[in-house]
Each structure stands twice: as C-alpha cells, then as structure tokens.
C-alpha cells in the first residue's frame, strides 16, 4: 500500500496534547555535543603538525602516516561499530567510544615520537571515533524520529561542522598559550568530564526506555498494541547480509561512494588546484568560508525539505548540483570558478549525509541500520581514499586537474541518476505500511 507520507503518518498512533519539548531533541543535543567534540578533536590534528615537526625532528610526510592510517581505520571501523550498535544498543557504543576516544586523546599528551602518534591517533582514536559517527548516532536518532527524521539527522550532522568551528580554534589557541600537550589534555579532559556524563545521563537507545513513543506520540491503544519503534522497513531482512541482495542498499552505497570521491578529493587537492590556477591561499580560504556558511544553511534546509518530499529526489538533485559545481571548476576561469564552486558546491556539501542515513532507515528499518549504514559509510571512506590517490596521480601525469574534475562530474551525474532511480514509494516506510505484526519492537538493547 502506498500513498502520501502525511496520510500514512496521520494513520499512526494519535498525537497526545503537546507538553514540553520531545525528549528526542535532548538526545540530539547530547549526540550533537559528542559529535562536536569527537570530530573537532580529529580535525584539530592538523593544527599540531608544524609543532611536532620541530619537536620530533620529523617531516610532514612522516606525520601524515598517522593521518592516512586514521582515514583508513576510521572507514573500515564503520561496519564493525555499526554491527555492535545493532547488537548492544547505540547508547552503550557511543558512551564507550567517546570514553576510549577521550582517554586516548589525553594520551597523546604523553607521546614522544611519531610511532606513538600513529598508534594512538591512527588506530585507537580513529577506530573509537567510528563509534561517535553517523553509523552509530544516526541509528539512535532513527529510533527516536520517523516523521522528522530528515531534520533530526541534519541537526545532528551539523554538530560536526560546529565542532570544527569551535574546537579547532580552541586547540590552536591553547597550543599557542600553553603548548601542545596541554591542548590534547584539555580537549580529552573536556570530553571525559562533560561528554561522557552527558551521554550517560541523556541518551537512551530507544524512546521506549523513557516510556515514550517514536516522534513523541502516544497511542490510545492498549499497551500491548503500542508502537514503540517500527524496527523494520519494507525491505527488512532478518539477517543484515540478506539486505545486500536488495537494490536500494547498493544504489545508496554507490552514490555515497561517489560522495566520498568528490568530497575527499576536494578536501585534499583544492589548495593545489587553487595554486595551479594562480589563486592565493587567502582567496581559497575565503572561498571555503563562503562554502561553509552556505553549507550549514543548506544541510538544515535539505533536512526540513526531506521530511516533506521524496528523499531520493532531493538526494539525486544534491548530487547533480555538486556535478555542476565540479563542471564549473574546469569550464570557468579559475578566479570565477572558485566562487562558483563555493556557492554551488556549498549547497550540496553535507546534505548527502542526512538524506542517505534517513533513506537507509526508511527502507531497511532500524534493527540492522548500524551495520547497513556502516557499510555505506565504509564505501564513502574507501571512495575518498581512492580518489585522493588517483587525483594526485592524474595531476602528476597531466599537470592539470581538468581530467580528474571532469571524471568527478561524470561520477556525480551517475550518482544523481542512480539516486533518482531508487523506488522510494515502493521501499520506504513513509509510503508503505509495514505489517502490524512487525511493528512492535522488543527493546532487547534498551539501556
């Protein structure tokens, strides 16, 4: 049965009179802070490179082994922490992950050489931060929100952006004033002293753990018939591996692989491209500042729209808009292209994350969501790692980024078309009524 999402949602449990803010928004606030600290600390790594070079007498390339290792370890960790989330509940995983990350972050203050940095940052912190990533946090949010899943995911994802804006300058100035050891001790200590207790006190894996329903609704039915969380989606498979034989997970993963290709390549190669176009570092930085501002608004706008319109259409449009941004890089003159990219690219930069996470939850349900979205996230990270290498190789070979940017645009058009072909009205819980027998969640992972 299919139809308008609002009609289906109205057919669900009746709304209780509104009284206070729905507790799910507090869960988002706590996860927002955890994401904020975790991503901010990881991004802050770059601030210390010059200091470590001087203190340890090593090259940037040597220190970069820790960053490269961390990239891969973080990508590979996603399906594992996702699976752990499905088995043990999101709260346990996110609390333990932030705890390990906080202690390891403080441990960096004791590191005296690059090997210790590779061990702590490249492996421990990067693996643990997988537990404070969308692979885990989106599972919790998907259990608390269904009607407003898109905007809820968007608010959560923006936590990483805010973390970068606050934590990176904080670390930088602590480095200047007190030294790098104090900077790592302080950010790890703040995560330990405030982040971990906040998660423990506020976050619950399921609304049922607080005696609530999904979206804050209460049913007038008997307790036994209450719908806590619809754990399954129309394409739900009891074993997560069976989901891999369905089409939507591959459509989402292939598109997200392209997302990884295009964001990672720009992240690493944008400066070199700007230099090759005789654009100053300062202009490049300012252009990215513009991109950031548009991006922050864009992700929230997309989140709001995605709760009203078909998410696959928005996802397709987002990829196509990013394709236009890539095309501008090799079609327009450099000084114009950089601003065109900032404005057009900014609208699409982070918007793929809440859309992909929400669609995965809508199609497959929340019971295996951690594993499945972890799988999709791994595709994103592997695509990024491959693109970083191949873009560099192409620039070395041809002395220009035109060909890699053109390839990026082609892959984005393909990702857009693949996203548009997802049959959301046939596969999404927003449009297809899930059988009643499958509607009651057993809160085995409630904690």
């Amino acid at each position: 049965m299919s139809g308008d999402p609002s009609q289906l949602q109205n057919a669900s449990p009746k709304k209780a009179p509104k009284k206070g803010i729905f507790y799910g928004w507090y869960v988002i606030a706590a996860l927002f802070f955890a994401t904020f600290v975790a991503i901010g600390a990881r991004q802050g790594f770059g601030v210390f490179v010059n200091t470590w070079e001087q203190d340890w007498g090593v090259t940037t390339a040597t220190i970069s082994i820790a960053a490269a290792t961390g990239w891969l370890v973080n990508g590979i960790s996603q399906p594992f922490v996702g699976r752990l989330t499905d088995v043990y509940g999101g709260r346990r995983i996110v609390v333990w992950s932030l705890l390990v990350m906080a202690i390891a972050t403080m441990g960096i203050a004791t590191v005296t050489n690059v090997y210790g940095l590779i061990a702590l940052y490249g492996f421990v912190i990067s693996f643990a931060s997988g537990g404070v990533s969308p692979a885990t946090t989106s599972v919790i949010i998907a259990r608390w929100f269904e009607k407003k899943r898109g905007v809820a995911m968007a608010v959560l994802i923006s936590g990483g952006s805010v973390g970068g804006m606050i934590v990176v300058p904080f670390l930088s100035y602590v480095l200047i004033e007190f030294g790098w050891q104090t900077a790592w001790l302080m950010i790890g200590g703040l995560a330990l002293a405030f982040g971990v207790p906040l998660l423990l006190i506020v976050v619950r894996s399921n609304p049922a753990d607080m005696g609530l329903e999904i979206d804050g609704e209460v049913s007038e039915n008997t307790p036994s018939a209450r719908v806590h969380v619809r754990p399954v989606g129309p394409k739900f498979a009891e074993k997560w591996k069976d989901a891999l034989s369905s089409r939507p997970i591959w459509q989402l993963s292939v598109a997200y692989f392209v997302c990884g290709i295009t964001t990672a390549s720009i992240t690493v190669h944008f400066v070199r491209w700007a230099i090759s176009e005789d654009i100053s570092t300062g202009t490049a930085a300012l252009a990215f500042g513009v991109l950031s501002g548009i991006n922050a608004l864009g992700v929230l706008a997309i989140g709001l729209l995605s709760d009203r319109w078909q998410r696959k259409n928005l996802l397709g449009v987002v990829y196509l808009v990013r394709a236009v941004a890539f095309i501008s890089l090799f079609v327009l003159p450099g000084p114009i292209a950089i601003w065109a990219f900032a404005v057009i690219g900014g609208m699409s930069w982070l918007a793929t994350v809440p859309l992909t996470a929400s669609l995965t939850a809508d199609v497959y349900g929340v019971r295996n969501l951690g594993t499945l979205f972890g799988f999709t996230n791994m595709a994103h990270q592997l695509g990024g790692a491959a693109a970083v290498m191949l873009f560099g190789w192409a620039f070395t070979a041809w002395g220009s980024y035109d060909v890699p940017f053109a390839i990026g645009a082609v892959t984005l058009v393909a990702a857009g078309l693949v996203s548009l072909t997802i049959r959301e009205k046939e596969h999404s819980v927003r449009y297809v009524q899930v059988p009643e027998g499958a509607a009651v969640d057993s809160p085995e992972d409630g904690d």
């Binding site: 606030a29 991004q43 790594f45 770059g46 931060s129 720009i266 690493v268 991109l291 990270q381 970083v388």
Partner: protein, 88 residues
C-alpha cells in the same frame, strides 16, 4: 616476484604523498569525514581571526572554553527539568 607487496607499497606511498601536504583545506566546517585541517591555511585563518577580533589568545580560549563547558551543562539542566515534568 609477487606483485601484491609492490602494489601495497605503491598504495601506501600514494596515501602518504597525497595526504602529506596539505592535510586538508581550510574548510573547518566543511570537512566531510573529520579529516585534519591544513596547517598552513589554519595559520592564515588564525591570523585573520586575530586581525578581525583583536582578542588575546587567553580571551579566545576563555570564550570558546566557556561555550564548550556550558553547552553540556545547559543540556543536562534542561534534561533534569524535563524529567521532573515527566515524573522520571
């Protein structure tokens, strides 16, 4: 000679070379998967911030640190009040 170790060595070298300089762009808020910020561009950005705001490092630390500490405290207080209303 087996080609696998050579292929792995090539991948490793590319990873190190490509991620060496820069680590990432200045795009602190737009980094997509928590990649480290580019140190050179961060130096440029922090100079600009200093120029525009004109605050001492200690003042910036105090302002940002206060935000980082207050955010979780405010959330916890709001949750305690909410739980009180909910009777839990």
């Amino acid at each position: 000679m087996c080609r696998c170790p050579r292929a792995l060595l090539w991948i490793h070298q590319r990873m190190v070379i490509e991620m060496a300089v820069p680590f990432g762009v200045p795009a602190v808020p737009v980094l997509h998967a928590s990649e480290p910020i580019d140190p050179t561009l961060w130096a440029w950005l922090s100079d600009k911030i200093d120029h525009v705001l004109g605050l001492s490092p200690g003042m910036v630390i105090a302002i940002l640190g206060t935000f980082i500490v207050l955010f979780p405290i405010v959330v916890m207080v709001m949750v305690w009040r909410r739980r009180g209303e909910m009777g839990r």
